[in-house]
């Protein structure tokens, strides 16, 4: 039995934390699908609701043509990575039959997750207010850019705009730098992780109370939370804390230093006076390193600019690997800047990426989870679904529909 007291789904017996938990997934792009991928990794049966007539833009390589992806190879590699381990059902939410079907599925779900703009699900009569009476135990999660209330609820959000609005771009870099971004969808990950945590806590609380809940998450607030300390200090002090660039408030020297070659760098972080001594000897105890001013962390912080120039005069003559090797051997924390090809290569390469269990199209690797459980299994890294691959299976095992009933739905145009 699942947590709902209904018939078991296929993954129930594998002993994973969310075995038997059903997720009806209306999410698209990254924040939402990343959240539901984590739920799938924890063992949930994630049923991704897709449209065959309007496939997710990122779900197809043929973006301009807007053609429906027929095979897994037609899907964009990023879609395959984000949506692995899920099942896919096609429902045409523009038809009454499709909306009715979605409501029936929500009636059997433990969790509904959606990341449309505010009001879209209400227009489809799939908002919390519509579904809660059908399923009082439902955990309904919206994860729009700004939440479903407040003066900016209708603002359009995108990762880069959130990097700007949340403060990330103005706390990163040095004091006089222009806004500084990270070239990934950082905010989507922040939103997805907060949502997943909220869902797991809501499930825990539901197991006691028997009551579902509505989680109206704001991706903007998720990212602002990660800057909570700097926001709090601005509130109390009435000023923004200085941008530190690569420096630390407790250790020195710390920085990213230019190495031999074009655009090659090594990060160095001397944590204490003992490591400073080790650093000096690794460099062959040059005269400047014996300067008394540098013997204490405060002294090194006060002379950080000067120290940076001296250190870089050493690093810039060496390959970054050599800088790293030399310092690490001396017990000084140092890591070369790795581009993605370097992250993936070698025996000390990334540990979180794994070969697909069933590689078909796209990338050769997929992202696993960075944690392990001693007595619960995490889900296998199953491939992403083909569009609508599990429509029939899901209608059968979530709703018990017969082939005749499925055909009827098809005739009504509800399943495309």
């Amino acid at each position: 039995m699942n947590h709902h007291g209904q018939s078991a789904s296929s993954n129930e017996k594998d002993g994973s934390p969310l075995a038997g938990t059903r997720v009806l997934d209306f999410t698209h792009v990254l924040a939402g699908p990343f959240c539901t991928r984590l739920l799938a990794d924890l063992g949930a049966d994630v049923l991704k609701v897709e449209s065959a007539t309007r496939p997710e833009r990122l779900g197809s390589r043929k973006t301009s043509a807007g053609a429906a992806p027929r095979t897994r190879e037609d899907r964009a590699p990023s879609f395959l990575n984000t949506n692995r381990s899920k099942r896919s059902i096609t429902i045409n939410l523009k038809t009454e039959a499709g909306r009715l079907l979605a409501r029936r599925l929500a009636g059997m779900a433990d969790i509904v997750v959606e990341n449309f703009s505010a009001s879209v699900m209400d227009r489809l009569q799939l908002g919390y207010g519509d579904l809660q009476p059908l399923n009082p135990k439902l955990i309904y999660v919206s994860m729009s850019g700004f939440g479903h209330s407040g003066p900016r609820k209708s603002w359009t959000s995108m990762n880069m705009n959130l990097q700007a609005y949340t403060g990330l771009m103005m706390v990163t870099g040095e004091e006089k730098d222009p806004p500084t971004a990270i070239a990934n969808s950082w905010n989507d990950y922040m939103g997805g992780l907060h949502a997943c945590f909220g869902i797991l806590q809501a499930l825990t609380q539901r197991a006691k109370s028997g009551q579902g809940t509505n989680i109206d998450l704001s991706q903007f607030e998720c990212s602002v939370s990660t800057f909570g300390p700097l926001l709090l200090s601005s509130i109390v002090n009435g000023s923004t804390a200085p941008r530190l660039g690569n420096r630390s408030m407790v250790a020195a020297p710390q920085g990213v230093y230019r190495c031999e070659g074009a655009d090659e760098w090594c990060a160095i972080s001397v944590q204490n006076d003992e490591q400073w001594q080790a650093f000096a000897s690794a460099l062959g105890n040059p005269g400047w390193a014996r300067d008394d001013r540098f013997a204490t962390v405060q002294g090194r912080m006060d002379a950080h600019d000067e120290l940076d120039r001296l250190i870089e005069s050493w690093t810039s003559r060496l390959p970054k690997k050599e800088v790293q090797r030399c310092l690490k051997e001396a017990g000084v924390p140092a890591e070369r800047m790795r581009r993605i090809n370097e992250v993936l290569e070698g025996p000390d390469g990334a540990q979180v990426f794994h070969p697909w269990d069933d590689p078909q199209g796209g990338s050769t690797l997929t992202t696993g989870v960075p944690f392990s459980f001693s007595s619960s299994l995490l889900s296998r890294l199953r491939p992403a679904p083909v569009l609508g691959e599990h429509t029939r299976d899901a209608l059968n095992d979530w709703l018990g529909l017969t082939e005749v009933e499925v055909r009827e739905l098809e005739d009504q145009g509800g399943l495309v």
Partner: protein, 374 residues
């Protein structure tokens, strides 16, 4: 409501804060000197003070503090007694106690071990995140505000909440290991996909062109604003209608995203000239009205009275013992759960209460004092 013991270092400290936001009881065990988070500036009030570190005040809000001299053997007994009453322990490696000792004290415990072996900047360089952050060709930079540690703390919170849910259903505890290194690596998955699919190495993009051909931060009267001009021909049409720039309007080829990409420098220059006469909020409000994705480029100071954060209760009036009534950042989860968080505890604030709850009498406490544990 679960009882959580928090012995996490900075890379995991957000996890127990989140668990406090959802109403769990969180007890942070600190050494006599107070944990290192208390020594990390900026400070509230601008003067170094163990009680006023911004990171301590934010991440330890809603928690209780038990101060022990963790070097003293007698303190270990207190920790084990407390573990006996807890549902979960979040601890950074190396653990203070043997894992077997911990699990013996409470076989139903969820033990979350957080593995981290490098300082923040080095870990970020190794993970590939450093290579993605900064301006093209210039010195790469660490994401500010130690935000990567909030991100790793989020993964710890997910692992902890998953294991707590499991333990509630099965009545059994387990050991969960979270690798901070792997957490950071996971955030470069988009670069991994592009590299393994197309052989493309993602580089730093600075603040321009990351999403659509014409996207980025542009100067305005009070800082910068951020805009992504939509890819579609229709979106471009609506955009030039708004901007009314003669050069951009005259070039019909720009309706095509690929053309815009090729002529990006020109477009960026024209837009920069146009937008510098507006204030951030003025231009962003107008853009949003026209369904053009735009946002102000904020500093944390810009957000202290943000209307959206106030309206949704994210910034919530709180009486703070040192700062009086302030707007406190409750957190993205806490504001939804409707729980008020107590201000971060002073060092050892709940010592007496917790020891009494554990059944320690005056004589026992005297013994702990003599044994150097308190």
């Amino acid at each position: 409501m679960a009882r959580i013991i928090d012995m996490a270092a900075h890379p995991a400290v957000y996890a127990a804060r989140l668990l406090a936001e959802t109403g769990n009881e969180v007890i942070r065990i600190e050494s006599s000197q107070g944990d290192s988070l208390r020594r990390l500036g900026p400070y509230l009030g601008d003067k170094p003070d163990l009680e006023k570190g911004a990171y301590h005040q934010f991440f330890n809000a809603g928690k209780q503090s038990l101060k022990l001299n963790l070097e003293a053997p007698a303190a270990r007994r207190v920790v084990l007694d407390l573990i006996g009453t807890a549902d979960a322990l979040i601890a950074s490696s190396p653990l203070l106690l043997e894992e077997s000792e911990i699990l013996e004290a409470n076989p139903r415990l969820v033990l979350i071990k957080v593995i981290n072996d490098e300082p923040e900047l080095c870990a970020v360089a190794r993970s590939g995140l450093l290579a993605l952050t900064g301006h093209p060709g210039q010195r790469p930079v660490l994401l500010g505000g130690h935000v990567v540690y909030a991100a790793t703390g989020l993964y710890v919170s997910v692992a902890a909440a998953g294991a707590l849910f499991c333990s509630q259903l099965t009545g059994q505890g387990q050991v969960v290991e979270v690798s901070i290194r792997q957490c950071l690596e996971s955030f470069v998955e988009q670069a991994m996909v592009d590299y393994t699919s197309w052989g493309q190495v993602t580089e730093r993009v600075g603040y321009r062109g990351a999403i659509t051909a014409v996207s980025g931060a542009f100067p305005c009267t009070d800082g910068y604003w951020m805009v992504s001009v939509p890819q579609s021909p229709d979106g471009w049409g609506k955009f030039v209608d708004w901007v009314q720039d003669p050069v951009l309007s005259a070039d019909a080829s720009l309706v095509d995203e690929a053309e815009r990409d090729a002529k990006k420098d020109l477009i960026v220059e024209r837009l920069g000239m146009w937008s510098k006469g507006f204030s951030k909020i003025e231009i962003v409000t107008e853009a949003q009205k026209r369904h053009v994705p735009a946002a102000p480029v904020s500093t944390p100071l810009d957000l202290v009275d943000d209307p959206q954060l106030k309206a949704r209760g994210f910034l919530s009036e709180t009486d703070h013992p040192d700062f009086g009534r302030i707007l406190f950042p409750l957190g993205a989860i806490g504001s939804l759960w409707g729980n008020k968080l107590n201000p971060a505890p002073s060092l050892g604030q709940q010592n007496a209460k917790i020891l009494a709850e554990l059944g320690y009498k005056e004589a026992d406490i005297q013994e702990l004092v003599e044994g150097g544990a308190l």
